[in-house]
Subunit: 397 residues, 2 copies
């Protein structure tokens, strides 16, 4: 049988994330991966969560194993609220919804807002998981260049002027994926001003905000919003465990109500056990202490990566912005136009990196950039991986 | 701010499932609920899963807490395959995808197949979660009446004749929700014949198939499919735990590939811990023995419900088909046109039932039917609940 004719237009040209495809190729245990977005596994609180899970299932099996409510287990909603309130990101008229990972929140927010052909303004480059989610609603993606201090506001205003029907801006303002860049306070204020002037919503994705290891915190866009324009997506993936798939959305009630209906027909509710485990973990332990340990480790790993980049990358041929937090380092090779041969050669040398095209609005245009992840590999592997990349770059640039 | 103008058309008129809304009203612990679709909590293997979860997190914290792959943890895929193969429902060219509950599989299959305005043929009445999922893709739902032995094949053929552009048939052939009806073997074969003649796909939803307590098993539609037309959705919700949100899809590879991409942008992957727990449970225990206990209990509960219906319902005024398995009993009151006052009065008497309109293609048309659930209440509460419904029916019919 030929199946294409049964497929919705939205999936006909859709391909999986090359990063996750790369994961499959990386079954080879010898490969040093600087490709993924995995947090450091060495700090996962396995023992603590083991005791917590065992106890929950022993003492509250019905609660843990029976159906739950779509909006989330009430105490889990309180936990999410606490995290969001810590950065002043819950408005008076907002509702909180627990999501099976923040990505679900991004996907369902897009589903609640975007008709086919609707315009969504995104950072260029940006996180492929979100870009692909928007693509599945057949939205038109309008890219705005990410500068060293975040989205270009000149370009954003031009884009808004030329697209008066744009509905929403999607941004990862803090330690952006893939660039690692943080949007300045001035730009955040300007973005809100423009959103108000041109009457669009903002979807703020903040999975990395807790992972600052240098510099000063910048207020979330949501915390600066006085009009109720910002939908805020938070995550426990980078501060507790990504495999548990726990995230949340803070949204004005009328939008939250629609997103909740979409979640109801999607996965009915987020698994109960993982919600209960998160609640107990936050009750018994100081999660901020745990996050602080992660921050310290990521600072060390990032410094190690940069030290080795300075040592092994061909001088003057690779540009990057030193991140102040998060998981990623973004590199540009201005003397070439296409990084693909570098990425391939690196894989031959058993080190995996992600080509910039993966994060582009136009995935088929060549890119001279690549993304490095410093959170998941060991210090030794970071040093060795960067050394090998350096050899490839020296040979090919 | 006024938010309607930012909303996608698909959600503007969308409302949550009245059943799940009813759950919220049922916070009152005195209410006897015969409304939900909860499996019996008294049999949940809490102790076994407690030990399993504790051990997994202690010995394999990275596996349980780190990101996993979108298609599912390989051993969990094997478990799903085993369940599907038990009913001969894995074709040669099929792929298996683990879902965060079977509902996600239904939702994402619809997303992979349905453009706006596309036609999907559904049983009338049918499961509201699926109907609402189809509605969110702005598909046109074409209802085909459920008879005592399943979908009317005459009506199905007429519908296919009159809608040559229909793409897919959605069916719950075994212990259908809400009717409890099982489609006969003849009708299953006929449905496949019609699907082939009119060139449409079939989405077979089989969450209750393991729960037969009388009569003989009927082969799944998928097992009779020789052309690769059937996508099969299986679930662990009714045979292990609904709160764990574990289901799966068996689909021809070209479709599975697209559904996988849609899952990737939806929740990235199903939580790892619950997958690992299911794998261990199926390795250490005989899940079929556990299911057999559930079947026996549901048989008893269903018999108790019918015994009390015969005793308390006004004679000759309520019709039903005795189910041979599953969770539901469907009642029709031919002497009235609208069951709403009965449902309201029952709530006053602290017993919750679901009006038929919830399962209708046209949710606003009055219905003289209601659905009873016998799996979750105790035998005592079933008897007491049915007695109270009988009082209301005697008064109002």
């Amino acid at each position: 049988m030929e199946y294409t004719k049964y497929m919705a237009d939205r999936v006909k040209t859709m391909k999986g994330s090359a990063i996750r495809e790369m994961f499959k190729r990386m079954a080879d245990p010898e490969i040093i991966s600087l490709a993924g977005g995995n947090p450091a596994a060495e700090l996962f609180p396995g023992d603590e969560l083991s005791k917590i899970a065992g106890k929950i299932l022993m003492t509250s099996p019905t609660l843990a194993l029976q159906y739950g409510t779509t909006d989330g287990y009430p105490k889990m909603k309180d936990c999410a609220r606490k995290r969001a309130e810590k950065v002043n990101s819950v408005g008076e008229n907002d509702e909180i919804l627990i999501m099976t990972g923040a990505n679900q929140g991004i996907d369902l927010t897009a589903k609640a807002v975007l008709n086919k052909g609707d315009k969504i303004i995104v950072e260029s480059p940006s996180f492929i998981g979100s870009l692909n989610a928007f693509r599945t609603y057949e939205a038109e993606l309008l890219g705005v260049t990410v500068e060293d201090d975040g989205m270009s506001m000149e370009e954003l205003e031009k884009t808004l002027q030329n697209n008066s029907d744009a509905k929403i801006i999607y941004t990862i303002p803090t330690f952006q994926n893939p660039t690692g860049v943080t949007m300045s306070l001035e730009k955040r204020k300007k973005m809100l001003e423009l959103a108000s002037k041109y009457d669009v919503l903002i979807l703020e994705d903040n999975p990395y905000g807790d992972l600052r290891f240098s510099g000063e915190d910048v207020p979330t866009v949501k915390s600066l919003d006085t009009e109720g324009r910002v939908i805020y997506a938070g995550s426990f993936s980078k501060i507790l465990s990504p495999g548990m798939r726990l995230g949340y959305i803070v949204a004005p009630a009328p939008l939250a109500e629609k997103i909740e209906v979409l979640k109801q027909v999607n996965d009915v509710h987020t698994p109960m056990l993982t919600q209960l485990m998160c609640v107990e973990f936050m009750k018994k332990y100081d999660i901020d202490k745990y996050i602080a340990k992660n921050r310290e480790l990521y600072g060390k790993k990032c410094a190690c990566m940069i030290e080795n980049m300075e040592k092994y990358f061909p001088e003057g041929k690779v540009k990057w912005v030193t991140p102040e937090g998060g998981l990623f380092l973004w590199c540009e090779c201005p003397t070439i136009t296409d990084i693909s041969p570098v990425v391939e050669k690196c894989l031959e040398k058993k080190v995996a990196i992600v080509p910039g095209s993966n994060f582009a609005i136009d995935m088929f245009a060549p890119s001279n950039m690549f993304r490095l992840n410093y959170s998941s590999a060991t210090l030794e592997n970071i040093a060795e991986g960067v050394k090998r990349i350096g050899e490839v770059l020296t040979e090919l640039l």
